[in-house]
């Protein structure tokens, strides 16, 4: 009887322990979700205002004088409220459309960052007089908020109202194209060789350990390597998407090799033996049977590697991609920057208006990364086969 009681007590104790452990785990998850929630709420709250922007309706006079001094194209009252980025283009407007010369046109133009900041209740350098003018024009409907197209159609600028992510997005695409063009075939072939062709000996095990180590090397070291090999030795132009892409390829290579090997290993040996059984060569066995079956896994790993490369900044700093790039690059040898580098540059700008642009840049980067990772999950869910 006594033994029975003791046993029951022990069981109750074990259950209690289990409950405690479960509660701790739930606590950990709640904390993690809370962190993510706070982070997202903070970034969204800081950044959403960057997606709309003040516009001002002005009369632009295209005469001799305004071609000489572009600021004279608008009346003195609104001159400090119009973006200098617009005024600078006035002579260019006439050049591309000679009919404009001598005419006065009423048009909506981007307002100066001061107007933007003032209407968004942020700190501004506008004088009280200018603030009064803004209030007056705002009431008269001549200053209005509109979607901030500049943010998506223009490159970096020193004028916050003119700054956008286009050149960084194009730079990111070019850089990642180079990265994948180099890392994917190389990684795939290395993995196929190690998994399907190589014999298991000391040498291949040595290589395997090294590849696993490489995946854990801090990314800044790849930057130093890229600087030494690609720029100083091979003469790849500094700051170019090619230099950045090759550097990131070095970093992504081990990730692709490891995930590809895992995907190949998941294909059961019965498939290989079946192929051999009907007289297939090793190459045929790999290309006709194993690779097609492991492709979803390989692609998932590659996409995750790509997402990691996309968020990387440290190695790119060393190959000169933390540069000021107002216009999008046309090719991989032209100077370029990438999204995370653009965010970093904006974060260190003195002007307060860059705060919201920094947060908006982060939002765009997060959205793209989420899409990439979601694609990876989807691919796995849809095409993965279990044996």
């Amino acid at each position: 009887m006594a033994a029975n009681l003791q046993a029951e007590k022990r069981i109750r104790q074990r259950y209690r322990r289990e409950q405690r452990f479960k509660a701790l785990c739930i606590g950990a998850i709640t904390l993690a979700i809370l962190f993510i929630f706070v982070f997202f709420a903070d970034i969204i709250q800081r950044g959403y205002t960057a997606f709309y922007q003040a516009q001002i309706q002005v009369e632009v006079t295209y005469d001799e004088r305004s071609l000489e001094i572009p600021a004279a194209a608008v009346s003195e009252e609104v001159r400090p409220l119009v973006s200098r980025g617009f005024l600078r283009q006035v002579p260019g407007h006439v050049q591309s459309d000679p009919d404009l010369k001598g005419r006065t046109v009423t048009r909506w133009v981007t307002a100066d960052t001061g107007v933007n900041q003032y209407l968004k209740d942020a700190h501004t350098g506008l004088s009280p007089q200018e603030k009064a003018t803004v209030d007056k024009l705002h009431e008269a409907g001549r200053i209005e908020f509109a979607f901030n197209t500049n943010f998506f159609t223009r490159g970096d600028s020193k004028m916050p109202e003119m700054a956008g992510i286009k050149s960084a997005v194009v730079g990111t695409i070019l850089t990642l194209a180079v990265t994948m063009a180099v890392a994917f075939p190389l990684g795939l072939m290395s993995a196929v060789y190690l998994e399907e062709f190589a014999t298991d000996n000391r040498f291949t095990r040595f290589i395997e350990v090294n590849i696993n180590n490489l995946a854990a090397v801090p990314s800044i070291l790849y930057g130093l390597l890229g600087l030494a090999i690609f720029i100083n030795f091979l003469g790849v132009p500094r700051s170019s998407a090619l230099a950045g892409g090759l550097t990131l390829a070095l970093m992504t290579l081990p990730i692709i090799i490891i995930s590809t090997r895992a995907a190949l290993r998941a294909v059961p040996d019965s498939i290989r033996e079946g192929a051999f059984g009907v007289g297939a060569s090793r190459l045929q066995m790999v290309t006709h049977h194993v690779l097609p079956l492991s492709l979803p896994g390989i692609l998932t790993g590659s996409i995750i590697g790509m997402a990691q490369a996309m968020g990387e900044t440290a190695p790119l700093l060393l190959v000169g991609m933390m540069a000021f790039i107002p216009s999008a690059p046309d090719g991989v040898t032209e100077p370029a920057t990438v999204l995370p580098a653009q965010i970093f540059t904006w974060a260190s700008m003195p002007q307060r208006a860059f705060d919201e642009l920094t947060a908006a840049g982060i939002l765009v980067l997060l959205a793209v990364l989420l899409t990439l990772n979601a694609t990876a999950v989807l691919l796995r869910k849809r095409f993965e086969r279990r044996w």
């Binding site: 063009a181 075939p185 090619l242 216009s327 974060a347 003195p350």
Partner: protein, 343 residues
């Protein structure tokens, strides 16, 4: 299986395009600039304007720090080296010699304006008034006491001077890699150390937690000041100008940092900003001197210039004219001048 073939084909094409596009870039179309992160906001403004208003392509500018910039600049005379480097301090004799050794023997120096280094705290607290000596006593690793150097014992501001508030000494400032820190050490500590009883110039900053190196991001320092009402921060004037609603500048030796006091040199912690031009590239890279001319024009660095809005403090009009003359004549910088600049 078909997907697999298509995919390998796509990868192969992509690789081929990447190699085809990678032609050697011998003749350069674009100007290349490197250098100081303090000058970077001004120079990139000019870069943008230059790209938007001339037929030349937009120059490439990188922020590498003054020392890093001069290192790249002096590496050689070929077109794979930068054409211009920005600096928040004059070139050192050692750097000048390195340039000469590497065949960069014809350099022109341009001064673009002044910058003040400010000490600021949150606008919600009392404004500080300090002398150079008091600042040195707060940040130095060791202080002279009875003719001997002892480890800095000051924990609160009123340990230094009883008229100062009973606030903990906590200063957020630039790290050792920064040109702003070099300038701060030179203009505050070196300037004060002679009279204070140090044995010569003393520039060692304490590492016991009272001085916090806060990274190269000055916005971060401003954020810290807003959160911690007892803390002081060290950064460039342009960050003060942009954040006047949140922080206030310390009066140093009784002078408040304003564009006027900094330009006149009354404010003791002010310095000139420079850039250096590689004259050997003048004929090789298109637009070099057009860029320089735009940078030195009145609409950029003048009293009403655009860079004033960005936080640059203009030089007196006469000096601007003089600099424009000498720079546009491509006057060569001599070793003697470099020596005098560094004294």
């Amino acid at each position: 299986m078909r997907t697999w073939h298509k995919l390998s084909l796509a990868a192969a094409t992509a690789a081929a395009t990447a190699t085809a596009l990678a032609e050697p870039a011998d003749a350069r179309e674009q100007l290349r600039l490197v250098g100081s992160s303090t000058v970077y906001p001004f120079a990139s403004y000019v870069v943008e304007e230059f790209g938007a208003t001339t037929q030349y392509p937009t120059p490439v500018i990188e922020s590498t720090g003054s020392g890093g910039g001069l290192k790249l600049f002096c590496a050689g005379d070929g077109t794979d080296t930068p054409d211009i480097t920005n600096a928040s301090r004059p070139i050192k004799v050692s750097e000048y010699d390195r340039c000469q050794d590497n065949g960069v023997d014809n350099i022109t120096q341009a001064v673009i304006g002044s910058d003040g280094i400010v000490l600021a705290n949150t606008a919600n607290a009392q404004r500080f008034e300090l002398t150079l000596e008091q600042i040195t006593r707060a940040v130095a690793a060791e202080v002279p006491q009875n003719g001997e150097l002892v480890e800095n014992p000051n924990e609160y501001w009123d340990d230094i001077d009883s008229s100062l508030p009973h606030n903990e000494i906590l200063i957020y400032g630039p790290p050792t890699t920064s040109g702003t820190r070099d300038a701060f050490e030179g203009m505050v500590m070196e300037a004060a150390s002679e009279e204070m009883g140090y044995d010569g110039a003393y520039t060692k900053i304490r590492q016991d937690g009272a001085y916090v190196p806060a990274g190269e991001n000055d916005n971060l320092i401003v954020e810290k000041l807003v959160q911690n009402t007892e803390a002081l921060g060290i950064f460039g004037y342009s960050f003060l100008a942009e954040n006047r609603d949140r922080i206030q500048a310390t009066r140093i030796n009784g002078v408040e940092p304003t564009p006027e006091t900094i330009a006149a040199g009354d404010y003791p912690v002010s310095r000139s900003l420079y850039f250096y031009i590689k004259n050997g590239h003048a004929g090789k890279v298109p637009g070099l001197y057009d860029y320089v001319e735009l940078f030195l024009s009145e609409k950029m660095i003048g009293d009403m210039g655009y860079l004033k809005d960005e936080g640059l403090i203009p030089l007196p009009a006469g000096r601007r004219e003089q600099i424009r003359q000498s720079v546009l004549n491509q006057e060569q910088l001599t070793r003697l001048e470099v020596k005098t600049l560094n004294q």
